[in-house]
């Protein structure tokens, strides 16, 4: 059975301290950006580039589109970083900008007919496991392609929560903050998204 964090858990105290510390760093970055320190944005970019690109890629299902989206998202981040007030962490603030921008762009954009799994492997980190035989690797690659394809076929509203939870590893509270909805809505959308994903994989 899964382990559950509880309020008695001393690790919770460390987590709260880490969040406060991160928030201090986030606010300092925003302040330095406001005062014209070019290095502040560079730090933000280095910290979140991978996260924003990966999210864009999973929402758009296309590497070229993901690169364009990432560029536009960071331009927005650059323009608004000075107004970041620390009401959420910089991470969820950037995720919010990213999700909203992807929604806006993808509602006007139609994905290519080529499914995500049939693109070339370029740009995706693939870690070969020497202990697995060629047959096993082929099955794993096929499974991966099926999951990626099913993910792109999920309705946007469910794809967002599944990507944020199962790929980006955000907590329900963070997802609620990113999407501007209640935790109950997040819980329900994740469950429905997973159910639909399972149905898509079974067909």
């Amino acid at each position: 059975m899964l382990a559950h964090a509880s309020w008695e858990d001393p690790v919770g105290v460390a987590t709260v301290s880490a969040v406060v510390r991160d928030l201090d760093v986030d606010l300092e970055l925003a302040e330095r950006h406001r005062y014209g320190d070019a290095r502040a944005f560079n730090e933000v970019y280095s910290r979140f580039e991978d996260m924003v690109y990966n999210l864009s890629y999973r929402l758009a299902g296309n590497r070229e589109e993901a690169a364009d989206l990432t560029q536009e998202i960071f331009l927005r981040v650059f323009r608004h970083l000075g107004s970041f007030g620390g009401r959420s962490t910089l991470k969820t603030w950037i995720f919010r900008i990213a999700v909203n921008h992807c929604r806006d762009r993808l509602s006007r954009w139609h994905p290519p007919t080529q499914p995500i799994g049939e693109e070339t492997g370029e740009g995706v980190a693939v870690y070969a496991d020497p202990s697995r035989g060629p047959e096993e690797l082929a099955v794993a690659a096929d499974d991966k392609r099926r999951v990626e394809e099913a993910l792109t076929r999920l309705p946007q509203v469910f794809r967002e929560v599944v990507v944020l939870r199962d790929i980006e590893g955000l907590s329900y509270e963070e997802i609620a903050d990113v999407l501007g909805v209640r935790i109950g809505t997040v819980r329900s959308r994740i469950a429905r998204g997973r159910d639909q994903l399972r149905t898509l994989l079974e067909t």
């Binding site: 059975m1 899964l2 382990a3 559950h4 964090a5 509880s6 406001r34 005062y35 014209g36 320190d37 070019a38 290095r39 944005f41 560079n42 970019y45 580039e49 991978d50 690109y53 990966n54 890629y57 999973r58 590497r63 993901a66 690169a67 990432t70 560029q71 960071f74 331009l75 650059f78 323009r79 740009g123 995706v124 980190a125 693939v126 870690y127 794993a140 499974d143 991966k144 099926r146 999951v147 990626e148 993910l151 599944v162 939870r165 199962d166 790929i167 907590s171 329900y172 819980r187 329900s188 994740i190 469950a191 429905r192 997973r194 159910d195 994903l197 399972r198 994989l201």
Partner: protein, 230 residues
């Protein structure tokens, strides 16, 4: 005892997001209900398939693209006059014609203002025409007969602060707004370690120092004068 577990309960439990008492209840039910156990395992398989997807690595040139885009956004928006000049400069003409336009446009503008008898007129000019580099330039035109051909720049916004130009002791000084008349507590050379550190933090200040001017600003709770001098 719950009759059957909902997908929402199974999903929240899988994520460790179910409340403590709810988790105990779900565990109790899963131990005794084969149907719910199967559904839970099926959900686990689906989710672990997503977990196993590799993270997509950004393409190598993306960082350069974004930084170039941001650098372009950092540059000031051209003012109205700047737009007119940009339009003129973008006409399919040779460099000599552009250079002539660079001299002629402010000259014609100055003469027009004088002839119209305007006493105080604020004109924003594109930074490319000015001797001093700046992000925003505001020029006050006095109705004097000896108006210079190239209008002097008197304020500048750099490093997120506003600076005012002053002539002090025969030298040009850019003073951070609000610090006029304050005697600097520290004088720093741009080549000194502290000067280099300051410039590294606010690289745009180099624009003000470029023509030999000094810069007075607030830095680390002190009023500091920065100059190019060794």
């Amino acid at each position: 005892m719950i009759r059957h577990l909902s997908s929402e309960q199974l999903s929240a439990y899988l994520d460790g997001e179910a409340a403590f008492h709810e988790s105990r209840e779900i565990e109790g039910h899963l131990a005794s209900c084969a149907d719910c156990r199967d559904r839970f395992q099926s959900m686990q398989r689906t989710v672990s398939g997503v977990w196993r997807l590799e993270r997509a690595a950004p393409p190598p040139g993306l960082s350069t693209r974004v930084r170039a885009e941001v650098a372009a956004a950092r540059r000031p928006e051209p003012a109205f006059a700047g737009n007119v000049l940009s339009y003129l400069f973008n006409l399919p003409s040779g460099p000599s014609l552009r250079a002539a336009a660079a001299v002629a446009v402010p000259l014609v503008l100055s003469l027009f203002l004088l002839r119209s008898g305007i006493e105080h007129k604020v004109v924003e000019l594109d930074q490319n025409l000015m001797l001093r580099p700046a992000l925003v330039e505001v020029v006050t035109v006095e109705p004097a007969a000896d108006l210079p051909l190239v209008l002097p720049q008197t304020t500048s916004q750099v490093a997120g602060r506003e600076f005012v130009w002053r002539e002090v002791g025969g030298g040009d000084v850019w003073v951070q707004k609000g610090l006029e008349g304050v005697v600097p507590a520290t004088r720093l050379s741009a080549q000194s370690p502290q000067g280099r550190e300051l410039l590294a933090q606010y690289s745009d200040l180099g624009l003000l120092l470029a023509d030999g001017s000094r810069v007075v600003l607030r830095y680390r709770l002190e009023t500091v004068e920065l100059s190019q001098g060794v």
